[in-house]
Subunit: 191 residues, 2 copies
Protein backbone atom coordinates (compact mmCIF):
# COMPACT_ATOMS: atom_id res chain seq x y z
CA UNK A 1 0.00 0.00 0.00
CA UNK A 2 1.41 3.39 -0.94
CA UNK A 3 2.21 5.59 2.02
CA UNK A 4 0.01 8.34 0.68
CA UNK A 5 -3.20 6.35 0.77
CA UNK A 6 -6.17 8.45 1.89
CA UNK A 7 -7.66 5.42 3.67
CA UNK A 8 -7.05 4.42 7.25
CA UNK A 9 -8.87 3.16 10.34
CA UNK A 10 -10.89 6.38 10.43
CA UNK A 11 -12.31 5.74 6.95
CA UNK A 12 -15.95 4.73 7.22
CA UNK A 13 -17.45 2.36 4.68
CA UNK A 14 -21.08 3.36 4.10
CA UNK A 15 -23.40 0.91 2.33
CA UNK A 16 -26.66 2.48 1.19
CA UNK A 17 -30.03 0.73 0.75
CA UNK A 18 -28.69 -2.71 -0.21
CA UNK A 19 -31.88 -4.49 0.80
CA UNK A 20 -33.90 -7.30 -0.74
CA UNK A 21 -36.12 -4.69 -2.43
CA UNK A 22 -33.33 -4.23 -4.97
CA UNK A 23 -34.44 -7.49 -6.56
CA UNK A 24 -38.09 -6.49 -6.88
CA UNK A 25 -39.63 -6.07 -10.34
CA UNK A 26 -39.71 -2.32 -9.68
CA UNK A 27 -35.94 -2.25 -10.16
CA UNK A 28 -35.70 -4.71 -13.05
CA UNK A 29 -32.97 -3.91 -15.53
CA UNK A 30 -30.49 -2.46 -13.12
CA UNK A 31 -26.91 -2.18 -14.27
CA UNK A 32 -23.89 -3.62 -12.44
CA UNK A 33 -25.20 -7.07 -11.55
CA UNK A 34 -21.98 -7.69 -9.59
CA UNK A 35 -22.73 -4.96 -7.09
CA UNK A 36 -23.36 -7.32 -4.17
CA UNK A 37 -20.27 -9.55 -4.46
CA UNK A 38 -18.08 -6.48 -5.03
CA UNK A 39 -19.39 -4.78 -1.91
CA UNK A 40 -18.97 -8.05 -0.01
CA UNK A 41 -15.29 -7.94 -0.89
CA UNK A 42 -14.98 -4.43 0.48
CA UNK A 43 -16.84 -5.24 3.67
CA UNK A 44 -14.73 -8.34 4.27
CA UNK A 45 -11.59 -6.23 4.04
CA UNK A 46 -13.00 -3.58 6.37
CA UNK A 47 -14.05 -6.21 8.89
CA UNK A 48 -10.65 -7.92 8.78
CA UNK A 49 -9.00 -4.57 9.50
CA UNK A 50 -11.53 -3.62 12.18
CA UNK A 51 -12.42 -0.45 10.26
CA UNK A 52 -15.86 1.17 10.66
CA UNK A 53 -18.81 -0.03 8.61
CA UNK A 54 -22.16 1.78 8.42
CA UNK A 55 -25.30 0.29 6.92
CA UNK A 56 -27.99 2.69 5.76
CA UNK A 57 -31.47 1.19 5.39
CA UNK A 58 -34.32 2.73 3.45
CA UNK A 59 -37.62 2.63 5.39
CA UNK A 60 -39.58 4.14 2.51
CA UNK A 61 -42.78 5.66 3.93
CA UNK A 62 -44.73 4.76 0.79
CA UNK A 63 -46.63 1.54 1.63
CA UNK A 64 -46.42 0.47 -2.02
CA UNK A 65 -42.62 0.60 -2.03
CA UNK A 66 -40.81 -2.75 -1.77
CA UNK A 67 -38.55 -0.94 0.73
CA UNK A 68 -41.47 -0.12 3.07
CA UNK A 69 -41.04 -1.50 6.61
CA UNK A 70 -42.95 -4.76 6.95
CA UNK A 71 -42.39 -5.64 3.29
CA UNK A 72 -39.95 -8.53 2.77
CA UNK A 73 -37.81 -6.18 0.65
CA UNK A 74 -37.02 -4.09 3.72
CA UNK A 75 -34.54 -6.71 4.97
CA UNK A 76 -30.84 -6.20 4.36
CA UNK A 77 -29.53 -8.53 1.69
CA UNK A 78 -28.24 -11.69 3.37
CA UNK A 79 -24.75 -11.18 1.93
CA UNK A 80 -24.57 -7.63 3.28
CA UNK A 81 -26.02 -7.70 6.78
CA UNK A 82 -24.57 -5.83 9.77
CA UNK A 83 -22.74 -7.77 12.45
CA UNK A 84 -22.23 -6.81 16.08
CA UNK A 85 -20.50 -3.48 16.47
CA UNK A 86 -21.47 -2.16 13.05
CA UNK A 87 -23.64 0.91 12.74
CA UNK A 88 -27.14 0.93 11.27
CA UNK A 89 -28.88 4.11 10.15
CA UNK A 90 -32.54 3.90 9.17
CA UNK A 91 -34.03 6.68 7.06
CA UNK A 92 -37.24 7.72 5.33
CA UNK A 93 -35.46 10.43 3.36
CA UNK A 94 -33.36 10.41 0.19
CA UNK A 95 -30.13 11.57 1.80
CA UNK A 96 -29.03 9.49 4.80
CA UNK A 97 -27.95 12.76 6.46
CA UNK A 98 -31.48 14.22 6.67
CA UNK A 99 -33.70 13.18 9.54
CA UNK A 100 -30.94 10.97 11.03
CA UNK A 101 -27.94 11.39 13.32
CA UNK A 102 -25.46 10.02 10.77
CA UNK A 103 -23.47 13.26 10.68
CA UNK A 104 -23.12 13.34 14.46
CA UNK A 105 -22.17 9.65 14.65
CA UNK A 106 -19.50 9.99 11.99
CA UNK A 107 -18.01 13.20 13.37
CA UNK A 108 -18.06 12.06 16.99
CA UNK A 109 -16.17 8.94 15.95
CA UNK A 110 -13.64 10.98 13.95
CA UNK A 111 -14.63 9.51 10.60
CA UNK A 112 -13.79 12.27 8.15
CA UNK A 113 -13.34 10.12 5.02
CA UNK A 114 -16.17 8.02 3.61
CA UNK A 115 -16.20 5.20 1.08
CA UNK A 116 -19.71 4.90 -0.31
CA UNK A 117 -21.47 2.15 -2.24
CA UNK A 118 -25.03 0.98 -2.71
CA UNK A 119 -28.25 1.55 -4.56
CA UNK A 120 -29.29 3.73 -6.48
CA UNK A 121 -26.43 5.74 -7.90
CA UNK A 122 -28.55 8.73 -8.94
CA UNK A 123 -31.05 8.56 -6.09
CA UNK A 124 -30.11 7.85 -2.47
CA UNK A 125 -26.38 7.42 -3.12
CA UNK A 126 -26.08 10.77 -4.91
CA UNK A 127 -28.35 12.48 -2.36
CA UNK A 128 -26.13 11.29 0.48
CA UNK A 129 -22.86 12.06 -1.28
CA UNK A 130 -23.86 15.61 -2.18
CA UNK A 131 -24.74 16.39 1.42
CA UNK A 132 -21.60 14.64 2.70
CA UNK A 133 -19.55 17.00 0.58
CA UNK A 134 -21.42 20.05 1.86
CA UNK A 135 -20.84 18.83 5.44
CA UNK A 136 -17.10 18.73 4.83
CA UNK A 137 -16.50 15.00 4.44
CA UNK A 138 -14.02 13.63 1.93
CA UNK A 139 -15.89 11.04 -0.14
CA UNK A 140 -14.91 8.13 -2.38
CA UNK A 141 -17.83 6.78 -4.41
CA UNK A 142 -17.46 3.22 -5.71
CA UNK A 143 -18.22 3.33 -9.43
CA UNK A 144 -18.71 -0.44 -9.63
CA UNK A 145 -20.08 -0.65 -6.09
CA UNK A 146 -23.17 1.35 -7.03
CA UNK A 147 -25.99 0.66 -9.46
CA UNK A 148 -29.24 2.10 -10.76
CA UNK A 149 -32.04 1.54 -13.24
CA UNK A 150 -33.04 3.27 -16.45
CA UNK A 151 -35.54 6.12 -16.47
CA UNK A 152 -37.38 8.39 -18.86
CA UNK A 153 -37.22 12.16 -18.86
CA UNK A 154 -40.08 14.63 -19.35
CA UNK A 155 -39.50 14.65 -23.10
CA UNK A 156 -40.21 10.91 -23.10
CA UNK A 157 -36.63 9.93 -23.86
CA UNK A 158 -35.52 6.71 -22.24
CA UNK A 159 -32.14 6.72 -20.51
CA UNK A 160 -30.39 3.37 -20.06
CA UNK A 161 -29.34 2.41 -16.54
CA UNK A 162 -25.66 2.58 -17.47
CA UNK A 163 -26.06 6.13 -18.82
CA UNK A 164 -28.00 7.31 -15.77
CA UNK A 165 -25.30 5.72 -13.60
CA UNK A 166 -22.37 7.32 -15.41
CA UNK A 167 -23.88 10.79 -15.48
CA UNK A 168 -24.71 10.55 -11.77
CA UNK A 169 -21.08 9.67 -11.05
CA UNK A 170 -19.98 12.66 -13.12
CA UNK A 171 -22.34 14.91 -11.16
CA UNK A 172 -20.82 13.75 -7.90
CA UNK A 173 -17.17 14.36 -8.79
CA UNK A 174 -15.66 17.45 -7.21
CA UNK A 175 -12.57 18.65 -5.40
CA UNK A 176 -13.48 16.52 -2.39
CA UNK A 177 -15.58 13.76 -3.98
CA UNK A 178 -13.77 11.09 -5.97
CA UNK A 179 -15.09 8.20 -8.02
CA UNK A 180 -13.06 4.97 -7.97
CA UNK A 181 -13.47 1.27 -8.72
CA UNK A 182 -13.47 -1.37 -5.99
CA UNK A 183 -10.30 -3.01 -7.31
CA UNK A 184 -8.43 0.29 -7.11
CA UNK A 185 -9.76 0.95 -3.61
CA UNK A 186 -8.53 -2.43 -2.38
CA UNK A 187 -4.99 -1.77 -3.62
CA UNK A 188 -4.90 1.30 -1.36
CA UNK A 189 -6.10 -0.45 1.78
CA UNK A 190 -3.94 -2.83 3.88
CA UNK A 191 -4.40 -6.57 3.27
CA UNK B 1 -56.57 30.81 -12.08
CA UNK B 2 -57.98 27.42 -11.12
CA UNK B 3 -59.07 27.17 -7.50
CA UNK B 4 -56.85 24.17 -6.95
CA UNK B 5 -53.59 25.99 -7.68
CA UNK B 6 -50.80 24.91 -5.32
CA UNK B 7 -49.41 28.45 -5.36
CA UNK B 8 -50.34 31.25 -2.96
CA UNK B 9 -48.78 34.03 -0.90
CA UNK B 10 -46.87 31.43 1.11
CA UNK B 11 -45.10 30.10 -1.98
CA UNK B 12 -41.49 31.22 -1.97
CA UNK B 13 -39.69 31.86 -5.23
CA UNK B 14 -36.05 30.82 -4.83
CA UNK B 15 -33.49 31.96 -7.41
CA UNK B 16 -30.18 30.11 -7.20
CA UNK B 17 -26.75 31.44 -8.19
CA UNK B 18 -27.90 33.76 -10.98
CA UNK B 19 -24.77 35.89 -10.81
CA UNK B 20 -22.52 37.47 -13.44
CA UNK B 21 -20.23 34.42 -13.20
CA UNK B 22 -22.78 32.59 -15.33
CA UNK B 23 -21.43 34.48 -18.33
CA UNK B 24 -17.78 33.59 -17.71
CA UNK B 25 -15.95 31.38 -20.22
CA UNK B 26 -16.02 28.57 -17.63
CA UNK B 27 -19.73 28.17 -18.35
CA UNK B 28 -19.64 28.65 -22.11
CA UNK B 29 -22.14 26.55 -24.00
CA UNK B 30 -24.86 26.58 -21.44
CA UNK B 31 -28.32 25.65 -22.58
CA UNK B 32 -31.46 27.74 -22.15
CA UNK B 33 -30.16 31.15 -23.15
CA UNK B 34 -33.51 32.64 -22.15
CA UNK B 35 -33.07 31.75 -18.51
CA UNK B 36 -32.68 35.34 -17.31
CA UNK B 37 -35.67 36.95 -19.05
CA UNK B 38 -37.86 34.00 -18.07
CA UNK B 39 -36.91 34.31 -14.42
CA UNK B 40 -37.43 38.07 -14.66
CA UNK B 41 -41.01 37.40 -15.69
CA UNK B 42 -41.55 35.19 -12.68
CA UNK B 43 -39.98 37.67 -10.27
CA UNK B 44 -42.06 40.52 -11.66
CA UNK B 45 -45.22 38.55 -11.00
CA UNK B 46 -44.12 37.62 -7.48
CA UNK B 47 -43.25 41.25 -6.72
CA UNK B 48 -46.55 42.50 -8.08
CA UNK B 49 -48.37 40.06 -5.80
CA UNK B 50 -46.13 40.78 -2.81
CA UNK B 51 -45.16 37.11 -2.59
CA UNK B 52 -41.81 36.08 -1.05
CA UNK B 53 -38.63 36.04 -3.13
CA UNK B 54 -35.34 34.52 -1.98
CA UNK B 55 -32.02 35.04 -3.75
CA UNK B 56 -29.31 32.46 -3.14
CA UNK B 57 -25.76 33.62 -3.94
CA UNK B 58 -22.79 31.35 -4.43
CA UNK B 59 -19.69 32.59 -2.57
CA UNK B 60 -17.50 29.81 -3.96
CA UNK B 61 -14.49 29.40 -1.65
CA UNK B 62 -12.23 28.50 -4.58
CA UNK B 63 -10.34 31.71 -5.45
CA UNK B 64 -10.16 30.61 -9.09
CA UNK B 65 -13.94 30.40 -9.40
CA UNK B 66 -15.69 33.28 -11.15
CA UNK B 67 -18.21 33.08 -8.31
CA UNK B 68 -15.55 33.74 -5.63
CA UNK B 69 -16.27 36.82 -3.47
CA UNK B 70 -14.32 39.78 -4.77
CA UNK B 71 -14.51 38.53 -8.35
CA UNK B 72 -16.80 40.58 -10.60
CA UNK B 73 -18.79 37.40 -11.28
CA UNK B 74 -19.94 37.29 -7.66
CA UNK B 75 -22.44 40.10 -8.29
CA UNK B 76 -26.07 39.26 -8.87
CA UNK B 77 -27.06 39.72 -12.49
CA UNK B 78 -28.43 43.24 -12.92
CA UNK B 79 -31.77 41.92 -14.19
CA UNK B 80 -32.19 39.69 -11.15
CA UNK B 81 -31.08 41.68 -8.14
CA UNK B 82 -32.87 41.71 -4.78
CA UNK B 83 -34.90 44.73 -3.75
CA UNK B 84 -35.81 45.88 -0.27
CA UNK B 85 -37.62 43.24 1.73
CA UNK B 86 -36.37 40.31 -0.33
CA UNK B 87 -34.26 37.63 1.30
CA UNK B 88 -30.64 36.91 0.41
CA UNK B 89 -28.88 33.69 1.38
CA UNK B 90 -25.14 33.43 0.79
CA UNK B 91 -23.54 29.99 0.69
CA UNK B 92 -20.21 28.28 0.11
CA UNK B 93 -21.85 24.87 -0.24
CA UNK B 94 -23.64 23.11 -3.08
CA UNK B 95 -27.05 22.92 -1.41
CA UNK B 96 -28.37 26.27 -0.15
CA UNK B 97 -29.69 24.40 2.91
CA UNK B 98 -26.26 23.39 4.22
CA UNK B 99 -24.30 25.89 6.25
CA UNK B 100 -27.12 28.45 6.03
CA UNK B 101 -30.34 29.27 7.88
CA UNK B 102 -32.51 28.97 4.77
CA UNK B 103 -34.58 26.14 6.26
CA UNK B 104 -35.28 28.13 9.42
CA UNK B 105 -36.15 31.29 7.48
CA UNK B 106 -38.57 29.48 5.20
CA UNK B 107 -40.27 27.50 7.94
CA UNK B 108 -40.53 30.43 10.34
CA UNK B 109 -42.22 32.43 7.61
CA UNK B 110 -44.60 29.57 6.80
CA UNK B 111 -43.26 29.01 3.30
CA UNK B 112 -43.94 25.35 2.69
CA UNK B 113 -44.03 25.41 -1.11
CA UNK B 114 -41.02 26.49 -3.17
CA UNK B 115 -40.66 27.48 -6.81
CA UNK B 116 -37.02 27.07 -7.80
CA UNK B 117 -35.00 28.37 -10.73
CA UNK B 118 -31.38 29.20 -11.41
CA UNK B 119 -28.02 27.82 -12.35
CA UNK B 120 -26.85 24.98 -12.66
CA UNK B 121 -29.64 22.44 -13.02
CA UNK B 122 -27.52 19.43 -12.07
CA UNK B 123 -25.31 21.19 -9.53
CA UNK B 124 -26.55 23.73 -7.01
CA UNK B 125 -30.19 23.63 -8.13
CA UNK B 126 -30.41 19.84 -7.83
CA UNK B 127 -28.45 19.85 -4.56
CA UNK B 128 -30.89 22.34 -3.06
CA UNK B 129 -34.00 20.64 -4.41
CA UNK B 130 -33.00 17.19 -3.15
CA UNK B 131 -32.51 18.53 0.38
CA UNK B 132 -35.70 20.60 0.19
CA UNK B 133 -37.60 17.41 -0.50
CA UNK B 134 -35.95 15.61 2.42
CA UNK B 135 -36.85 18.55 4.68
CA UNK B 136 -40.51 18.20 3.74
CA UNK B 137 -40.96 21.11 1.34
CA UNK B 138 -43.14 20.81 -1.72
CA UNK B 139 -41.02 21.90 -4.69
CA UNK B 140 -41.70 23.11 -8.23
CA UNK B 141 -38.55 23.22 -10.37
CA UNK B 142 -38.69 25.49 -13.43
CA UNK B 143 -37.59 23.39 -16.40
CA UNK B 144 -36.98 26.45 -18.56
CA UNK B 145 -35.95 28.59 -15.59
CA UNK B 146 -32.84 26.50 -15.00
CA UNK B 147 -29.76 25.82 -17.12
CA UNK B 148 -26.46 24.01 -17.11
CA UNK B 149 -23.40 23.21 -19.21
CA UNK B 150 -22.15 20.02 -20.84
CA UNK B 151 -19.75 17.69 -19.09
CA UNK B 152 -17.75 14.54 -19.67
CA UNK B 153 -18.02 11.38 -17.61
CA UNK B 154 -15.22 9.11 -16.41
CA UNK B 155 -15.42 7.06 -19.58
CA UNK B 156 -14.62 10.21 -21.54
CA UNK B 157 -18.07 10.52 -23.06
CA UNK B 158 -19.24 14.08 -23.58
CA UNK B 159 -22.77 14.92 -22.45
CA UNK B 160 -24.44 17.91 -24.06
CA UNK B 161 -25.81 20.60 -21.75
CA UNK B 162 -29.39 19.84 -22.78
CA UNK B 163 -28.95 16.15 -21.93
CA UNK B 164 -27.36 16.88 -18.57
CA UNK B 165 -30.19 19.31 -17.89
CA UNK B 166 -32.98 16.90 -18.81
CA UNK B 167 -31.58 14.00 -16.84
CA UNK B 168 -31.09 16.25 -13.79
CA UNK B 169 -34.75 17.29 -14.02
CA UNK B 170 -35.74 13.61 -14.23
CA UNK B 171 -33.64 12.87 -11.14
CA UNK B 172 -35.44 15.57 -9.21
CA UNK B 173 -38.99 14.48 -9.97
CA UNK B 174 -40.74 12.70 -7.12
CA UNK B 175 -44.02 12.58 -5.26
CA UNK B 176 -43.34 16.05 -3.81
CA UNK B 177 -41.03 17.54 -6.44
CA UNK B 178 -42.56 18.64 -9.71
CA UNK B 179 -40.99 19.98 -12.88
CA UNK B 180 -42.90 22.67 -14.78
CA UNK B 181 -42.34 25.37 -17.37
CA UNK B 182 -42.51 29.07 -16.54
CA UNK B 183 -45.50 29.63 -18.83
CA UNK B 184 -47.46 26.92 -17.04
CA UNK B 185 -46.50 28.32 -13.64
CA UNK B 186 -47.74 31.77 -14.58
CA UNK B 187 -51.16 30.44 -15.58
CA UNK B 188 -51.55 29.10 -12.04
CA UNK B 189 -50.61 32.31 -10.27
CA UNK B 190 -52.90 35.39 -10.00
CA UNK B 191 -52.29 38.18 -12.50
Amino acid sequence: MPGDSPFDRHTALVIIDVQDAMDSPKFAGRNNQNLVPRLQGVIERWRKLGWPVYFVADDDANPDSPYHPGQPGNDFKAELTPIDGEQVVRKTTGSAFLGTDLEQRLKRAGHQTLVVGGFQTNKCVEAMVRVARDLGFSVYVLADGTATVGQSDRRGRWWQAEDVHNLALANMESDTTHVIDVAELLTKVPQ
